[in-house]
């Protein structure tokens, strides 16, 4: 007799949904749902999973984690990422090795699909929470993500 258990389950799930929204309606503090955006610009914090733009975090010694493997460039469906790379000589071993020169990111072409971040083997790129991406000139949307003079963090490739 799945007929009556269906009715029971239907009513139960509907009431669960209503209790969730009802609780939110009564107990949510001010600003939990509606953000008074331009007024609270200083204190506004975007939620963790928001996809604003792709960023490359650098540590305090100006080191990033990008090895220049170009997997993100291949994964990107619309050519948003361009890696200009070079070969440098490692001082310790004397071997020639690939390293990035410029990690170019075209925000104007990005659809925020997140494939590049999923595919990155060293977690070199992450989602940034900045959403104020309007600019006066579209060339400002083409960004070089690695800081000038930055180096690959030691131990990333091992």
């Amino acid at each position: 007799m799945s007929y009556f258990s269906d009715i029971y389950r239907g009513i139960k799930t509907l009431l669960t949904g209503m209790s969730v929204t009802g609780k939110y309606f009564l107990t949510s503090r001010k600003g939990a749902i509606t953000q008074q955006y331009p007024d609270n610009r200083e204190t506004l914090k975007m939620f963790d999973r928001f996809r604003g733009e792709v960023i490359m975090p650098h540590n305090e010694d100006n080191e990033h984690r990008c090895t220049g493997c170009q997997k993100c460039e291949i994964a990107c469906p619309n050519g948003t990422i361009e890696i200009i790379w070079d070969r440098g000589i490692n001082e310790n071993t004397g071997k020639k090795k690939k390293k990035i020169d410029q990690f170019v990111y075209h925000l104007s072409m990005c659809t925020m699909c997140g494939l590049c971040i999923d595919v990155c083997p060293t977690d070199a790129i992450k989602w940034g929470q900045n959403f104020e991406n309007s600019v006066y000139d579209r060339t400002a949307l083409t960004r070089v993500l690695n800081e000038p003079g930055s180096e690959l963090q030691a131990g990333v490739e091992d």
Binding site: I7, G17, V20, P38, R41, G128, S134, Y136, D137
Partner: protein, 313 residues
């Protein structure tokens, strides 16, 4: 980040520099916006398509709005404050509230627009199906009152509201009535008639200005009517709880509106909680679940009245 190039910041600064009081007064502007909206709708041009059936196209909004306004005439706001107390009150309400669907069908048909047409046809399917559930759930309560006259129904409830008198079957009838009532007014989660993501604006795609406003207003009036019927039939209309303000009859209006607005709130709560149903799910819900339950519920209620198992004080 390119904070020097951020437009948002600059526009905000610029707005503040030209009108520093603007940001503070936004809260008050929201209230005035309602008046502006009404004036805007009144003064907008009434557009139409060239190949529309002009006569039916212009007639449709009046069907919808007049049928909603007619239904308002029979509600007992207090013992004296009732415009039109006929002995077939409930029957009249059900009859009048189903005229509205003719307006919707006419509007969709005569617009000569495929989206409007699909919306209107969906509305026909939906309203005609759920009309049954509304009628049968109200019939369940009529078994208890023994009268269709609304003042008589209120009189019966002086010994306990009907939802208390009829206990279990009355609560089931109330739940079915609220589900069917939400579907009847074409509101979410049953708003496939004007499903924005699929049909543009549904049956009123081609309407503008005041004609559109009539459709829009009728939806909200219908919502109040559904809540008001539920108030009258299940929650004792103008009767105060436990008779606390029986000596001041004018307060009946307050109690009636309070109960009706709580039910309107319930329907808004449905709207912001549930996702929209698919058309086959809608028909399954009505024909496989609500209708058989309703018929069984009538039998239970009849037994209850026959064996005198109702609760009355």
């Amino acid at each position: 980040m390119n904070s020097a190039l951020s437009i948002t910041k600059n526009i905000h600064d610029w707005l503040f520099s030209i009108m520093p009081e603007a940001a503070a007064s936004i809260a008050e502007m929201v209230l005035i916006a309602l008046v502006y909206d009404a004036i805007k709708l009144l003064s907008k041009e009434l557009t139409g398509t060239t190949r529309a059936d002009k006569f039916l196209y212009n007639l449709a909004p009046y069907f919808v709005i007049i049928s909603s306004l007619m239904a308002l005439s029979v509600f007992p706001f207090t013992k004296e404050f009732q415009a039109f107390d006929i002995n077939i009150g409930l029957f009249f309400l059900i009859a009048v509230s189903s005229i509205g669907v003719i307006g919707i069908l006419l509007g969709g048909w005569s617009s000569n627009n495929k989206f409007a047409m699909i919306g209107a046809m969906r509305s026909g399917v939906q309203t005609i199906s759920y009309e049954l559930s509304i009628g049968l759930s109200l019939l369940t309560m009529v078994l208890l009152t023994g009268s269709l006259q609304l003042s008589e129904i209120v009189e019966v409830q002086k010994s306990g509201w009907l939802i208390v008198q009829g206990h279990i079957p009355a609560i089931i009838a109330f739940m079915i009535y609220m589900i069917a009532g939400t579907a009847e007014t074409n509101r979410a989660p049953f708003d496939m008639v004007e499903a924005e993501s699929e049909l543009g604006a549904g049956f009123h795609t081609e309407y503008s200005g005041m004609k559109f406003a009539y459709f829009f207003l009728a939806e909200f009036i219908n919502m109040f009517i559904i809540a008001a019927i539920a108030t009258t039939v299940f929650f004792g209309a103008w009767l105060s709880p436990f008779g606390i303000t029986e000596s001041i009859p004018m307060l009946g209006v307050f109690w009636f509106l309070l109960k009706a607005l709580i039910l309107v709130f319930l329907m808004m709560w449905f709207r912001w909680t549930f996702p929209r149903l698919r058309i086959d799910q809608l028909l399954t819900l009505e024909w496989k679940y609500l209708l058989p339950l309703n018929l069984a519920n009538i039998v239970i209620m009849a037994l209850l009245v026959w064996l005198n198992l109702t609760i009355s004080f």
